[in-house]
């Protein structure tokens, strides 16, 4: 039998950091395997939803309503994927604690990692669909350029934004179970006030500034600027979103940690 002495024992914060990373890794693995292990299509399902949305939007808006946006299918697919990451993560955030009873009741389990698991799982789904998006962009004549280097930054900003919102939602759902359903409705409505299938240019000028209260408006525009127009995203918007996301995450995490001992009793 091999023993723990085979590897030098990590101690202190270094070990805690690595353990947290390992824990997120195995939980993401678990979620992905559970999602797809017993379905015949497997990971194909990760692509079905965005592709269906793409076909519907293109058919309805392009053909039926004759929307005049150049490269409409790339335009819609970018919106669908970016907003999809946000929507699918947050629609699950409510149930994070209430559906993980077996983990919550493990001594020493760091609950604070749970939101990251969901956001990572959904990011993985986004990554699976990216090749299709790239092919679509290529097919419509768009080529990668220097501004593409900003993509990792956009992923980080959006990650902070989603995780920052996931913490308060997960906490709230423990004491108020209707949260999950209300969030579902709000996310659905948010899709219509985010330029997924239309452009902000179609919105009357007086209303346009109100749209920017929705952080996903700026987010989707940054992605499109890079992918479709091959230009750097507006630094002001990126900085604003980054500050907003980081603040949300910091405060949301604080509240979550201070409340976490109460979660167990409410379950």
């Amino acid at each position: 039998m091999m023993t723990a002495t085979d590897t030098p024992k990590l101690q202190g914060p270094g070990r805690r950091w690595r353990h947290g990373r390992d824990l997120v890794r195995v939980l993401v693995d678990r979620d992905l395997k559970i999602l797809y292990k017993r379905s015949s299509l497997g990971f194909g399902w990760a692509l079905i939803t965005p592709l269906m949305q793409l076909f519907i939007f293109v058919f309805v808006f392009r053909r039926a309503l004759a929307v005049q946006i150049p490269n409409y299918s790339s335009y819609v697919f970018t919106g669908v994927l970016v907003f999809g990451w946000f929507q699918s993560s947050l629609s699950q955030a409510g149930g994070l604690i209430t559906n993980s009873k077996s983990l919550v009741t493990q001594p020493g389990f760091p609950l604070v990692l749970l939101p990251h698991v969901t956001v990572c799982v959904r990011l993985f789904h986004l990554a699976l669909a990216l090749p299709i998006l790239f092919a679509l962009l290529w097919g419509q004549g768009m080529r990668p350029g220097m501004p593409w280097l900003a993509l990792p930054l956009l992923v980080i900003v959006q990650y902070l934004l989603i995780a920052g919102l996931a913490y308060p939602l997960a906490s709230l759902n423990v004491i108020f179970r209707d949260t999950q359903h209300i969030v579902g409705v709000i996310l659905q409505l948010m899709m219509f006030v985010t330029p997924v299938f239309y452009s902000l240019g179609m919105v009357p000028e007086g209303m346009r500034n109100w749209f920017y209260l929705n952080p996903m408006v700026g987010m989707v525009e940054c992605w499109r600027a890079v992918l479709m127009e091959n230009r750097w995203p507006d630094p002001g918007v990126v900085a604003g979103l980054l500050a907003f996301g980081a603040t949300l995450l910091f405060v949301g995490r604080r509240v979550f940690v201070s409340q976490s001992h109460r979660f167990i009793e409410e379950l």
Binding site: M1, M2, T3, A4, D6, T7, L10, R15, R18, H19, D22, L23, R25, V26, L27, D29, R30, K33, I34, K37, R38, S102, L103, V104, T105, Q106, P107, G108, F109, I175, F176, R177, D178, H261, I264, E265, E266
Partner: protein, 422 residues
């Protein structure tokens, strides 16, 4: 003085009564933390310590707060007042394979459980072979856990838990699951962990288990400590309490005669709440057997209401009160299902090597937590053992005499002339 690994001081825990309504009322109660209803006290003023290498048993009826206490020790929730201090890494078996995912393989689940318990992925990988070997699941480890039997899942959970180098182990009644060989292995592993200084807290219903395994025991009743002392003292007091509780619950029932002609009088040779009755006890081949012959007991019962997992007890004692044998379904590793209606249970003794004489067979059925007896027939059934004249004492196993030479120093192998008696 050695620093205790686990220390609880004046631990109290109250729960707010859950409002069945939920919704907005629950939200406002949660936000404003105001609750007009009196809190429910699950634990009151519980204090104890567990030193490295010590094993503490927690006993008490259902709802006495045992599991709540164990969870508080595991840092799941905080005590309302008082403090809980646990030093070192906690290994826990609180729920049977609680975090297992049926669709994942045993290997994936072992990795998951190991990392959740605090190991790094690389550490679990190093120990995987040992875990699989301990769980005896070499042939099934890549099959989904949903295809496992309860025993297999339990073995895997236990194997992972003991391979996480715990410094404190919290166990909720798991040792009673699994076959005897695996239980022996678990007991050996627990002894090894204790030798390395691991402190163990075990919640148990089985008094024998507590007496055999634990150094000390803590008895909880309605969240309060009744007694915290050596395991033997607590077990004795707990059993005494059970006798009193059974007597208190015994109704004024009319005299009854079993089909075999035994007369049962409540509070005289029969105690118990009679929620479930033993209707007849038949000894086979009969109440008169030869020494060393097999004996079979058939106990017929009647449960007018469903009874959750009761425990049947059989003991044989001599006329002067010496207990020759005392066994029960729990000790025999038989977990009974919920019983309802009429039925019977049989105990087979392959051979009964009792000396010639008259004995009593006491038969009873108890609540699963041993809190009280449903029905207990004391000295109601007679057993006569017939044997060879000249043997005295309670035991009469097959025996033979042999005459030998002067024993060689340091050895006892040499055998000389044999004189056999029989």
């Amino acid at each position: 003085m050695i620093k205790p690994r686990v220390r609880a001081e004046g631990v109290c825990k109250s729960f707010r009564r859950k409002s069945a309504k939920g919704g907005w009322r629950a939200l406002s109660a949660g936000v404003f933390s105001r609750s007009r209803e009196a809190p429910l006290w699950a634990l009151r003023e519980v204090s104890f310590e567990v030193a490295p290498g010590q094993m503490l048993g927690i006993v008490g009826a259902n709802g006495a707060g045992k599991s709540t206490l164990l969870r508080l020790l595991g840092g799941i929730g905080r005590p309302t007042t008082g403090t809980v201090r646990v030093e070192g890494r906690i290994g826990a078996l609180l729920e049977l394979g609680g975090s297992f995912q049926g669709d994942l393989s045993g290997r994936d689940n072992a990795m998951l459980a190991g990392v959740v318990a605090g190991l790094l992925r690389s550490e679990v990988r190093e120990r995987m072979a040992a875990i699989i070997e301990f769980a005896e699941l070499e042939d099934f480890i890549d099959a989904p856990v949903r295809t496992y039997s309860t025993g297999m899942a339990m073995r895997l959970a236990f194997a992972v838990a003991v391979h996480t180098d715990p410094e404190v182990m919290l166990v909720d009644e798991h040792l009673a699951v699994g076959d005897l060989a695996f239980q022996a292995k678990c007991a050996a592993r627990i002894a090894a962990l204790r030798a390395e200084g691991c402190a163990i807290v075990l919640v148990s219903h089985g008094m024998d288990q507590v007496k055999n395994l634990c150094d000390r025991a803590l008895w909880l009743r309605h969240g309060e400590m009744v007694l915290c002392d050596s395991a033997a003292v607590v077990a004795e007091a707990y059993q005494e309490e059970m006798r009193e509780e059974s007597l208190r619950r015994t109704p004024e029932a009319p005299m009854k005669t079993t089909p075999e002609g035994t007369v049962l009088r409540a509070r005289e040779n029969r105690i118990g709440s009679l929620e479930m009755e033993i209707t007849s006890v038949v000894l086979r081949p009969g109440p008169r057997i030869a020494s060393g012959a097999p004996l079979e007991l058939e106990i017929a019962y009647h449960a007018p209401v469903p009874i959750g997992a009761p425990v049947f007890v059989v003991s044989i004692s001599s006329k002067d009160g010496a207990v020759c044998m005392d066994t029960n379904t729990q000790a025999g590793n038989v977990t009974l299902p919920d019983l309802f209606g009429r039925g019977s249970i049989r105990l087979t003794l392959e051979r009964l090597d009792l000396g010639a004489g008259a004995y009593f067979v006491d038969v009873g059925v108890f609540a699963s937590t041993w809190s009280h007896a449903y029905d207990y027939h004391w000295h109601a059934y007679h057993l006569n053992v017939e044997g060879l004249a000249g043997h005295k004492g309670l035991l009469a196993p097959p025996c033979s005499w042999m005459l030998g030479d002067v024993p060689a120093p340091g050895g006892c192998e040499r055998v000389g002339a044999a004189v056999s008696m029989g």
